[in-house]
């Protein structure tokens, strides 16, 4: 992969710059270099990585406590001493320690969110690309369908589908994916409408490439970065939507649980045991915030006009910031 940033190019068109930045991002060190240019994004990234790591390996050490019950630790407040590390965030209604539960819930929550995002990304991109490319009848049928889904109250859709299908994790994923898909359809279509006018698409057609090749070899790779940015933003939305479903009692159901479920059931105890809802709520907030921060970082990083902001200064500040001031060395 090209991580080189010394382009021999003398006329950096936007596209060239964009490719360059993507090239930089693709290489691991380039990615971290761009990331290190944004403190908040770095923290967000570190948080997400830690969270995922902890969600994967954390429960291995603590799992025994999270599924069984321990009524003596019922609603134990956080930072209870002498109860072991897993009770650091307190105990829940059945006396199960909250910390490992949060980590296990992180698995479900993140799995659901990632699956939803992945599913709607794939389906939405597929339809969006087709709608954008065949902008005639096929396209407008797809778009009207997307409009329909969009004007359908999303919670209503969720409730109806979950009532028909019963609230299992898979169905929750399907429902959320349906409600998110139109976003990707719209974005993908808008992008394709633009990309398909680019000359290289025309060029590929002129060498006789099939539509399939055009769509999936030429058009889709170009629009994916944009869609990934949207997706990272959507991760937060999905997590929030999932927790709203739980609040209304139609989301994931015990014994499976997510942060949303934990907040929703803990809300009954906000007055007596605030930590039941607080920690998972905080987890949602922080994760959603991190996803949002990463997404806005990505938006800057992939925008050739702005990406320089993220690269660390290579040399000490010379001269002055504003052009309005006379440079010291200016000879009069």
């Amino acid at each position: 992969m090209s991580g080189s940033d010394q382009s021999t190019n003398a006329e950096p068109t936007a596209e060239a710059e964009r490719s360059r930045v993507l090239g930089v991002m693709r290489s691991v060190s380039g990615f971290f270099r761009l990331l290190s240019g944004d403190l908040f994004a770095s923290i967000a990234f570190a948080f997400l990585v830690t969270l995922i790591g902890a969600a994967i390996i954390g429960p291995i050490f603590m799992d025994t406590q999270s599924s069984g019950m321990n009524l003596s630790m019922r609603n134990a407040p956080p930072f209870t001493t002498g109860a072991g590390i897993e009770y650091i965030l307190g105990g829940d209604l059945l006396g199960r320690p909250i910390l490992p539960r949060i980590l296990i819930a992180a698995r479900t929550t993140l799995t659901i969110s990632l699956c939803v995002v992945a599913l709607s990304l794939v389906v939405g991109t597929l339809f969006g690309v087709i709608a954008g490319y065949y902008s005639g009848r096929v396209g407008s049928v797809i778009m009207r369908g997307a409009d329909l889904v969009m004007s359908f109250p999303s919670l209503l859709l969720a409730m109806i589908v979950l009532y028909v299908l019963e609230p299992y994790v898979l169905n929750v994923v399907i429902v959320l994916a349906i409600t998110r898909t139109p976003v990707y359809i719209r974005v993908a279509r808008a992008e394709v409408l633009e990309v398909k006018e680019r000359l290289f698409v025309e060029a590929a057609r002129s060498i006789g490439a099939s539509d399939f090749r055009l769509l999936f070899k030429h058009v889709t790779p170009i629009i994916l970065p944009t869609l990934f940015t949207v997706a990272s933003l959507d991760l937060a939305n999905v997590m929030l939507a999932e927790s709203s479903l739980s609040f209304l009692g139609i989301g994931v159901q015990p014994p499976d649980y997510t942060w949303g479920v934990m907040v929703a059931s803990g809300r009954n105890y906000l007055t007596s045991a605030w930590w039941l809802a607080f920690w998972p709520g905080l987890a949602i907030l922080l994760t959603a915030l991190s996803a949002n921060l990463l997404s806005s970082w990505m938006r800057i990083a992939m925008d050739p006009k702005l990406s320089w902001r993220l690269e660390r200064r290579s040399r000490k500040k010379t001269g002055q910031g504003r052009t309005g001031l006379a440079p010291k060395g200016a000879n009069q």
Binding site: D5, A10, E11, R312, G321, A330
Partner: protein, 350 residues
């Protein structure tokens, strides 16, 4: 870059309207630093037309953006030099004072006529804005003046076009609009950045005629940035050739086309297709330089047929060559100019 600037030793004549000395601009793009302007010195006299010639990316636009204070900061930074307008160093002025000069006394015609017009306001509004802000005119008189300007730049049916939006105008008309805006408050200097590049030849001829008439009528100083040798030959009094953020040659238009002393200028002239089919063209070999990674010595040496060791280590300063007005930044200008066939074969008469 640290090589010595090519500061001209002569004092600016009294008639100098704009005097740029040793201007340096760089873009700090994180790890990369693009040296867009590397010690540009040039002057514009009152009532004179200076054409700044050079390939894409040679720093033509950035030079004048820096001078007029519309450079994107960050990432762009002026790191050295001065720019005097009417003997006032623009870099020493406050933003506000500078803005006054730049709109009022220096008119600027931006490079891309479509995107330089605000798409959501009518052309009348954008035109009248100039007189209202700079001359404090009332709305009505500003509108009247705007209408007059529209007529002056030759927009047909000006009244009915007054309330149109920029996108309803053709490329040539937009370019006229920008010119109308620049001349609306009677500036002393107009900087036109590639005023005809986006236009086709017939419209280009119209716009050039307009600019020429304008100068004749008002005596305004004119800086025209272009990469078209043809345009330069058409309108210039003096030409200034830029390469890699430096002025490599500056002279009156006839010397440039008849007696070019810099190998790059010669290369440009030779690249113009001007013969009937059959013969090969003689292009400049190689690629334009990477401004983030300029070669040491003369920036043109990797593409130059005359390059010697000196060129690879020592950057040539702008120096007088022949006539006083003719300056060139080449160690071997005399040799180059004397080469057979070096004189331009441009102009192929009919």
């Amino acid at each position: 870059m640290t090589e010595p600037g090519n500061t001209p030793e002569r004092r600016a004549p009294a008639g100098d309207l704009l005097d740029i000395r040793d201007l340096r601009v760089e873009f700090r793009l994180g790890t990369r630093v693009v040296h867009a302007v590397n010690g540009v010195s040039l002057t514009v006299k009152r009532g004179e037309t200076l054409v700044v010639l050079g390939e894409s990316g040679s720093g033509k636009s950035i030079t004048f953006e820096a001078v007029t204070g519309i450079l994107d900061t960050p990432p762009g930074h002026v790191t050295g030099g001065s720019a005097r307008f009417d003997n006032q160093n623009l870099f020493e002025l406050s933003d506000r004072a500078r803005r006054k000069i730049c709109g009022r006394h220096i008119g600027i015609v931006m490079q891309d006529p479509l995107s330089a017009l605000n798409p959501v306001y009518t052309v009348g509004f954008q035109l009248a804005e100039m007189s209202r802000v700079h001359m404090g005119m009332s709305k009505a008189s500003a509108n009247a003046r705007a209408l007059e300007m529209l007529r002056k730049v030759g927009i047909p049916d000006a009244e009915s076009r007054f309330n149109s939006y920029p996108h309803e105008f053709s490329g040539g008309m937009r370019q006229r609009l920008l010119i109308a805006m620049a001349i609306a408050v009677n500036p002393e200097l107009i900087i036109a950045d590639e005023p005809t590049t986006a236009l086709d030849v017939t419209v280009e001829a119209q716009i050039l005629a307009l600019l020429r008439d304008l100068r004749e009528q008002t005596g305004v100083g004119l800086v025209i940035i272009t990469h078209s040798m043809g345009v330069a030959a058409e309108v210039a009094d003096r030409v200034c050739v830029m390469y890699a953020g430096k002025v490599v040659e500056t002279a009156d238009v006839r010397s440039i086309f008849g007696n070019a002393a810099h190998p790059y200028t010669q290369g440009l002239l030779n690249s113009i297709p001007h013969q009937m089919s059959g013969q090969r063209l003689t292009p400049i070999p190689g690629q334009p330089p990477d401004l983030a990674n300029l070669p040491a010595g003369c920036p043109f040496h990797p593409r130059c047929g005359f390059a010697r060791d000196q060129c690879r280590t020592e950057a040539p300063a702008l120096r007088a060559f022949g006539k006083a007005e003719h300056q060139v930044a080449c160690h071997f200008a005399e040799t180059v100019a004397a080469l057979p066939g070096a004189t331009s074969k441009a102009g192929h008469g009919q």
